[in-house]
């Protein structure tokens, strides 16, 4: 099966439609599928729900799809860096479901592993627990959280081989593997596609079984907070 596509638009053809639940990798602006997000903007698909830890900034990441009103709902743990997001949310145009960060990551992982629900201590006794089933294990209370099953996953990796085996780089791995796992179809954008056999099988972070389509492209990789230290003289 051929997994390599010529462009982000081609890779989304036939797998993107209105009203979908899309799981997106990335943390802040690090390791986000920036080319695929741009292609979703060009495509114009509407009423999308995104499960993504953050919502980008106004002009980068998921933020660009908020500008075009393509997003109906966000499932996120932190959305602080996006003024347009706040405007749409406060005016009721955009739905928001807060998930604790680890709960969101585990919901994706669980979805990808065929686990429809799991119990966690995270959020017990807080607003997050409201309306959720709870259960005692060994004298401690846990709440039931549901696995997340996305229609489409979009992720960013460093390298792929042509069978879809992925390698990520440093903290740009973040939500990408769990996001990739939980989708019916996963499209990955990478910096480099190499022939099969060039990646050490022991060093694959995400096996190609989870990855259906791959594109290669140039990434801006914007830095959100540039912090440095002085060189000692």
């Amino acid at each position: 099966m051929k997994k390599i596509y010529g462009s982000a638009a081609e890779a989304l053809d036939g797998v993107l439609s209105d009203g979908m639940l899309i799981a997106a990798g990335g943390f802040g602006l690090c390791g986000i599928p920036e080319l695929l997000l741009e292609a979703i903007k060009e495509n114009g698909a509407k009423n999308l729900t995104f499960a993504s830890n953050n919502a980008g900034v106004d002009d980068f990441g998921i933020g660009i799809l908020l500008q075009t009103r393509q997003v109906k709902k966000m499932i996120s743990s932190y959305v602080g860096e996006n003024a347009e997001f706040m405007r749409q949310y406060l005016s009721g145009e955009l739905e928001l479901e807060f998930n604790p960060q680890g709960t969101l990551a585990e919901r994706m992982r669980a979805g990808g592993c065929g686990i429809p629900g799991f119990y966690t201590k995270t959020g017990v006794g807080t607003a997050i627990a409201e309306g959720k089933e709870s259960k005692m294990f060994n004298g401690e209370e846990y709440i039931l959280e549901e696995g997340l099953f996305a229609d489409l996953s979009i992720v960013k990796a460093w390298k792929a081989d042509d069978t879809g085996n992925l390698i990520f780089r440093k903290t740009a791995r973040n939500f990408n593997p769990p996001a990739a796992m939980c989708g019916k179809v996963c499209v990955a954008e990478v910096e480099e596609i190499v022939p099969r056999g060039s990646l050490d099988p022991d060093h694959i972070h995400l096996p190609g079984i989870y990855v259906h389509r791959i594109i290669q492209g140039e990434h801006e990789k914007r830095i959100e907070q540039r912090t440095t230290r002085k060189r000692e003289a």
């Binding site: 604790p100 680890g102 903290t171 972070h205 959100e224 230290r229």
Partner: protein
Amino acid sequence: MPWDRNQMAARAAEELEDGMYVNLGIGIPTLVANYVGDKDITLQSENGMLGMGPFPYEGEEDPDLINAGKQTITELSRTAYFDSAMSFGMIRGGKIAAAILGAMEVAENGDLANWMIPGKLVKGMGGAMDLVAGVGRVIVVMDHTSKHGDSKVLKECTLPLTGKGVVDRIITNLGVLDVVEGGLKIVECADGVSEEELRAATEATIV
């Protein structure tokens, strides 16, 4: 004189023991890293890293290498990277010995509020709820009172909770308190702060 930010961070660093894996929150907790001295401490960044190093030198920033506060950082010889599900797996699984984090309010039963103020802009809880529910020991570092002079160490939190009964120790500019049966116990007062002053600034029951 109450402790300043750096003195609070230095005091919090005394909580850390050789060999610990630790998660530091944003703000004063970040400064704790400057005071660990010779202790062998591994810092976790919950986006997916163990062995967090200092900020990079100018020109050496790597967009693929950031901490949970989205700041550019560096790796160390001990560093390991992993995905966010595994990262919170080790947090939820109790593998992280301690988290040091800031707070808006703490109550005498260990309740912690640090993620939202109703009616104000809500940014989200990030990983705070997972951390306080999962790590071995939760140490809060914060000012004892608000800028209006109201106690932040309360009988009951007024703000929405981040975690229920999760705090073990509170380090403020006025001293150190432990959450114990029936209320808070004074562990020590900041240099030059009397026990009376500490009690007067505390709404919570001191036992």
